[in-house]
């Protein structure tokens, strides 16, 4: 079974630029999560989708971050404009179950903002 696919693996941008990350979850998984993991910390949930609807985006900085899940499958996370403190690994995860359950994570996108 193919895992969660994310791209790109690495991205370096200057502050105030925009960036987008892409995620393809495991086939058939209804729930999709985006997490931000800053070096030395645990993952922090940014947004959770159930099919193509948003379940929880309470910790998403909506003035600069946006996310969408097209047709309940692939998802993109965008940052515009980026700040230095956005440097982190952005992890996508999916689950076949609703709610907060065990999740299957992708390898992540490492973003460096300079």
């Amino acid at each position: 079974e193919a895992g969660v696919a994310q791209s790109p693996r690495y991205k370096i941008i200057e502050k105030r630029q925009s960036v987008a990350f892409w995620c393809n979850p495991i086939s058939g998984h209804a729930t999709l999560y985006w997490y931000q993991q800053i070096l030395g910390q645990g993952p922090k949930l940014l947004i959770q989708f159930q099919n193509n609807g948003v379940v929880d985006d309470s910790q998403l900085p909506k003035d600069r971050f946006s996310a969408e899940r097209l047709k309940g499958v692939d998802s993109t996370l965008k940052i515009q404009p980026a700040k230095l403190e956005d440097s982190a690994v952005y992890l996508c995860a999916s689950s076949p179950w609703a709610g907060n359950t065990e999740a299957f994570f992708g390898q992540g996108t490492r973003l460096t903002v300079v």
């Binding site: 969660v4 645990g42 993952p43 309470s58 992890l91 709610g99 907060n100 065990e102 994570f105 992540g108």
Partner: protein, 108 residues
Amino acid sequence: EDQVTQSPEALRLQEGESSSLNCSYTVSGLRGLFWYRQDPGKGPEFLFTLYSAGEEKEKERLKATLTKKESFLHITAPKPEDSATYLCAVDGTGDMRFGAGTRLTVKP
């Protein structure tokens, strides 16, 4: 606010030297506690889910236990391939909240 604290931050063991990792939590209503393993440059990999105090789960050299205030991940006779960061996460009244992890190194 839900809180998750893991200790120690880092642990170095000799191969075969058993030990335990701690995850202390403060939540209004625990719906589930999760353990994950994370290797460098990779996403977390699910290990266990525990739902109620007294529950135990085992997988190879790992055993997870749960009380009303904390969870332990016991590792018996570890091998170098067990070296990784171990994360716990709690599902309480809010979203899933992760601890900062324990970085485990097992020397041959």
